[in-house]
Symmetry: C2
Subunit: 333 residues, 2 copies
């Protein structure tokens, strides 16, 4: 592998002159520039980024820390972050937390100080809170959960309002026994969506029944199916359900179908995340659609600004969302 030294020797100039050419320094004699460029392509020189970074103190890597890639929302988001990062000439290192905090702590602690310029973190459960101490000094942008008390940049939608809109839509269909799937003891977003759920019910003068609020410890299809199965055994089963993500909704739809409950006529279903899967499922899912591209872009932009100026005040960017109304709440009753 050719180094600056090799190129310099071939071109008959000093190492620094080659470096200058490579970095576009203006004052190089045309003659020398030509010779260097020739030597560069002759040797197929590629700068050693490791060495360059060591010298410059930047690495060109950012970490994207998220729970699981198998969750389509995160996969879609990761894809968009990859794209956005590319425009900043950043390479993305993906770390899966899988819910466990220890492994996470280790990787980030060892990787943290030197190998990454910053991190975009989609926190699960408690992680948001103690992230500051976990990665001291690393520029971090947080996704999803909005913890105003933390002095950390943050991007996300208004979860309370989004949930309220979703449930209000169900109310507008005339449903009265509206269930929720996705309550979670430690997840900030879960608390916020539950809050929006309660708000919408209150606005409609409907009671909040505890037996209609189902907990989901993970947000996978299986959990949605199990929760729905439980809800359907109630004396008075729900006529609508708001699921805190699309996977839960997919599971819920299946559990309903397996028990002969028809969607949307017997049960209207709303999901969250607007994954492509939900748009193609049978029936297609009405869902809260966060602008994922905007989230990815905002996160990377925010991280860029934080890296450039570590002292700036933390910013909270609120990205837009919309409600995609599809078959799972259309027609029927």
């Amino acid at each position: 592998m050719a180094t600056l030294k090799d190129v310099a020797a071939l071109a008959g100039v000093s190492v620094k002159t080659v470096s200058n050419v490579v970095n576009g320094y203006a004052f190089v004699k045309p003659e020398n520039r030509r010779r260097v460029e020739e030597a560069l392509s002759a040797t197929g020189y590629r700068p050693n980024l490791g060495a360059r970074n060591l010298r410059r103190g930047r690495t060109g890597f950012v970490a994207l820390v998220l729970p699981e890639l198998v969750v389509p929302y995160f996969a879609e988001l990761a894809g968009l972050v990859l794209g956005a990062a590319q425009e900043h000439e950043w390479n993305v290192l993906i770390e899966q937390t899988l819910g466990t905090r220890e492994g996470e702590r280790d990787t980030l602690a060892s990787l943290g100080p030197h190998m990454i310029d910053g991190a975009i973190v989609s926190p699960e459960a408690l992680q948001a809170r103690d992230f500051g101490e976990l990665a001291p000094g690393i520029p971090v942008v947080m996704l999803g959960e909005h913890s105003v008390d933390l002095p950390i940049d943050h991007v996300g939608i208004d979860n309370v309002e989004a949930a309220r809109v979703a449930v209000a839509h169900l109310v507008g269909l005339g449903r009265t026994r509206i269930a929720a799937i996705g309550a979670h003891p430690h997840r900030g977003t879960a608390a916020q969506r539950l809050e929006g759920y309660r708000l919408a019910l209150a606005e409609a003068g409907l009671p909040v029944r505890d037996e209609l609020v189902a907990t989901a410890l993970n947000y996978h299809r299986r959990d949605g199916a199990e929760a729905m199965a439980r809800l359907l055994t109630a004396a008075e089963p729900p006529d609508a359900v708001f699921c805190f993500n699309d996977l839960l909704a997919v599971g819920a739809v299946r559990a309903a179908a397996e028990r002969g409950v028809r969607v949307p006529s017997d049960l209207a279903v709303v999901g969250f995340d607007n994954t492509e899967e939900g748009a193609y499922s049978l029936p297609s899912l009405t869902t809260v659609a966060p602008d994922k591209a905007a989230i990815a872009r905002a996160a990377v932009d925010l991280l860029r600004r934080r890296v450039d100026d570590p002292e700036r005040a933390p910013e909270h960017v609120r990205t837009p969302f919309s409600l995609e109304v599809r078959e799972s709440t259309r027609g029927g009753a």
Copy 2:
């Protein structure tokens, strides 16, 4: 950020002694070891991986190059590769090709020689062929496509046989007008699955009808739906369809449903990849199930061995698969 020098100063020993302690060198006087360890934790020392790697010539990074993370198969695979890589103390850098080769070439060419120890590549279209020249000298393991002529390590299932089994299953249900969705001019796997399809038909004494073989330029849900819509306009529409991945199958199922064609009674559907989505869709998808965990493990293992010994002969690892029979081919006419 503390460096070896800082720690050495604090402990009153040389930089190298600290380095020795950090790296577990045996011959350090207990007294010194203790002092160094104290200084280490007092300063919260973290080795600068960039510097270490520059010195050692290894980076601890591997690239995972794949078409798109939004395709669930790749998301699931990526998750598994991340896990497998962790056991080798590798960090994974994910690159999306999005089908375009230029961007791909650039990233890998610049990243290639110095920042990654190797790459696991899931090639799309032509990429397999010219990958050797694209990333000269980088240890590479190829996924999916089996090009025996390339002197490159490779992991994958027997696509011809898998497709044959899938279509044979449809034949076994008594279907006679069996369509295929996913033919592609440049994709190696597409050619192989088509081959298996033809084989199974031939074995059953069924003709291969060109009008029943649908091309799909991408393997997204939309493409499956469009292809199915075309197939259903035929004079004699198919009574079964073998889709080259689950996304195509999901799209096909939806297109069928929108036209009142029932699955599986009117149309039996088989997918490929065994994504979770297919297991929960309505109806759930019969699908070819490659052992994804085995693929991920084999790929990382193979890469490890290649990195350790660049001269070894390329190996082709064939991972197992099975056919998951579900609702989309169960019961019905």
